[in-house]
Subunit: 491 residues, 2 copies
């Protein structure tokens, strides 16, 4: 075996242990009884240590040097590029820092669960100071290695190839039209009346409906499942994708569209190139591209009138009630409202929440602001972007998200990048696919065929820019997103 | 850390990976979609290799030598004894043999699934020849190390401390009274009429009933779950025990008592000594003792009149129908009938199936017979013990069990040892616990308290003989089993 082949074998070995980690993680979230937690976390920690020791084996450096000299095909070069990228990311940080981060992150996150309820910024700030400090250390180490700013080095973990310079430009442009678009949409919706959920919606029926929707979306049940967990997610492995949802029996809105969203993630995973399974080239391209698939399903497809008709029809197999009428469902799923909470935000106000977080975490990682500045900045930006005050309201202000509690800085932009890519993919798809007729026909195959050929089957063989350009003829262009929003909310 | 402490740390590390293996194994049997099988088996194989490499690390031999010289407490000595026993078992076989066995076993078992259906002895025999040959090699290697006969060396894997000399004596005695006891019981039951299941019994209701029965049996739902699988089992880890059952909607008899049986296994696991978790001393004593707990629950407790009253009462929460009347349920659960199939056998005829298998596998491992002799011997022994002919009937004869297809020779005696231990434990318990009144009261705590103090909490700190003697005042005595059977079936 030459060096390249040895690296591939090693990658597959690591991937086998990551497979176990994914399934065990699903188990923990979806089925494990509470008393199993302590022994389980010991077992998981042991597995983490083992995976880390495999990924940081000293002989890998030599293999990468040797592989670089080999005559490799284009695809092999892509595999090597991605293996090297993940290897470098995994080997950059000193073990002491990783341990300190894990400890500080657990402590901060755990305390946050009650501190958030109690609006206890003072308590939170004490733990968070250490988390921010350690993340800044991490960002600086990565920045030194990459030759970028600290924040850009963190971005690279989630969105390889994206810089804050490009995000600054992108979001600055969005800020020129988003606030007025939100106001105009709210004004336009003022007169319409919506029938909100007003009955009891048994979890079992919601599940049965969800399964039908997944079928319509051609989720492959031979290679995946639907289960329940407190925080919905898409986990497992490409050959066995585990999505979860949460049923609230006093409404159906969240779980129904939540399933559409997770099915988008799932189909991407199920559609990844099997020939590259076990190597990073066979994995999803980035968090933003992953989110582009869930948001393609949820926003582009799921909230379209043609798709809502299916939802209404399928719902009538399980529920009676005028709230499931297609026009009403459509209103529910396009309702715009300024609110404090990102995870409850609608499609239109969501980018405002993301831009706010992006600006703050960028400045925090680059040392332009202190962590104690965050509540005030949050308040100012909420005022500016959504006209809401979070003065003194930490619970629904800067303490609302779990992301920063464990030091995950750099992830938030992916949500809005995903929404933009989704709109761009839809615009490109419409050039060759009559999307609305296809959806109305009930056989959505041409849509999935397009996504599969252009996105899913590419894994990480192309860079994000290459992937998007090959699929749509241009790199990221927020104009498609704007056009989509204007058409849906002011059209 | 001294050598003993290092061995304990190592044992806990191995145990953490075995934890993952158990949960992943449960996942595979209970929830994994079929398309996930291939990638999963690669991941599991990787984990197996890793666990094996941990258990066979060369430095362990030195640690065992050093630990032997340390001044250890009685409990520490027990921990060392059990760690050394499992280590020796894991290190005896050459890797080539283990691989050959795994390959031959998988091949034979896989083909057996269709060969059994087709009564294809000729086809099966070709694969099985290799499995038997390799198991004989294994047995010889173990025998040379232990200074015992080959079969005794295999027995040691499942029932440490048991010899075929003692089993020969035990089963010879059983054979003096079992056949006539079976005949007399059948004669006695001739006149009674039973109302068999005759309706549709929805899986959901069976599950709800099963959960109530588990509650009565004080299954700890904080540390375990009930799920479904094709072949019911008790898996997981002591802090998170996963039992499964299978629902056949045209009857309820199997799943209901199956849940009682698996709950017995589960409570043993849940009751193991936490202070020794992660070492073999904190594990179940043997297969026979494990089976003694499931059979205590199923046979001693579950089929007693007092317990059947609870089953009847709880069933009425979910089902109507005279078949659930307590007298009828009692008849169903004590019905005696000579049949071909071990897994369908009743309490009374079951030992005949086991003794037959024991005698054959003993002679096979010791080289006294050839594998091609098995069908004829099976037929002769079925005639002698149960009066049934299996001439030409391989499907319901020697090809009915999965055990031998992958070379698991030495396991069958555990079933009947378990039944005997269960009867002996019940006899001892009755000296201090008024079992029937306790069961009737609905609070079975005193029964579980006895089992916990005498069996569960002991793990493998005592040898089997020590454990049984401490609990009952004597080592294994089949008289209790006989008395129980006579009292239940001729009383």
């Amino acid at each position: 075996m030459n060096a390249f082949q040895q690296l591939v074998e090693h990658s597959k070995k690591v991937s086998n242990f990551q497979h176990l980690s994914s399934i065990i993680g699903w188990d923990q979230a979806a089925v494990m009884p509470s008393g199993g937690a302590e022994a389980r976390s010991n077992a998981m920690a042991e597995l983490d240590v083992h995976i880390h020791s495999l990924m940081t084996q000293p002989h890998l450096a030599d293999l990468f040097d040797q592989a670089q000299e080999l005559p490799l095909s284009t695809e092999e070069q892509a595999v090597l590029r991605e293996m090297k990228r993940t290897w470098q990311q995994d080997n950059l940080l000193p073990e002491a820092l990783v341990k300190a981060q894990s400890l500080a992150g657990s402590k901060c996150e755990h305390a946050w669960r009650s501190q958030r309820k109690n609006n206890d910024w003072a308590g939170f700030e004490k733990n968070w100071a250490e988390v921010v400090k350690l993340s800044q250390e991490e960002a600086q180490i990565r920045a030194d290695a990459n030759g970028t700013s600290p924040y850009d080095a963190m971005l690279e973990l989630y969105e390889p190839g994206t810089s804050s310079a490009s995000l600054d430009a992108l979001f600055a442009e969005v800020k020129t039209w988003l606030p007025s678009l939100i106001d105009n949409a709210i004004e336009k919706q003022k007169s319409r009346s919506i029938l909100l959920p007003n009955s009891h919606y048994p979890a079992e029926k919601q599940k049965a409906l969800g399964l039908e929707v997944m079928k319509l979306l051609q989720f492959d049940f031979e290679h995946g499942r639907l289960d329940e967990s407190t925080h919905p997610f898409c986990g497992g492995v490409p050959s066995d994708v585990r999505i979860t949802t949460r049923y609230n029996e006093s409404e159906f809105v969240q779980s129904l569209m939540g399933i559409v969203h997770e099915t988008g993630h799932a189909r991407y995973e199920q559609g990844l190139p099997q020939a590259f399974a076990g190597t990073p080239a066979g994995e999803a391209r980035s968090m933003g591209i992953h989110e582009s698939q869930s948001l393609f399903f949820e926003m582009q497809l799921g909230r379209s009138e043609a798709f809502v008709e299916h939802l209404s029809r399928l719902a009538s197999n399980h529920f009676q009630g005028a709230e499931f009428a297609k026009d009403n469902l459509s209103k529910i799923y396009t309702h715009v409202e300024k609110g404090f909470i990102r995870v409850d935000a609608d499609e239109l106000t969501y980018p405002a929440h993301v831009i706010l977080r992006y600006e703050i975490e960028r400045d925090l990682m680059n040392g332009a602001i202190k962590h104690t500045d965050v509540p005030e900045l949050w308040h100012e930006k909420m005022q500016a972007y959504l006209g809401l005050s979070t003065a003194g309201n930490f619970t629904n202000g800067c303490m609302q998200d779990i992301h920063w509690t464990d030091g995950s800085f750099g992830y938030f932009p992916s949500y809005t990048l995903g929404a933009m890519y989704a709109a761009q993919f839809m615009a490109a798809m419409r050039k060759t696919v009559d999307v609305d007729s296809v959806v109305r026909s009930g056989d959505l195959t041409p849509i999935f065929h397009w996504l599969s050929s252009n996105i899913w089957s590419k894994g990480s063989l192309l860079t994000t820019d290459e992937l998007v350009k090959a699929a749509t003829g241009e790199t990221l262009n927020s104009e498609h997103f704007k056009r989509h929003l204007v058409s849906r909310y002011l059209g």
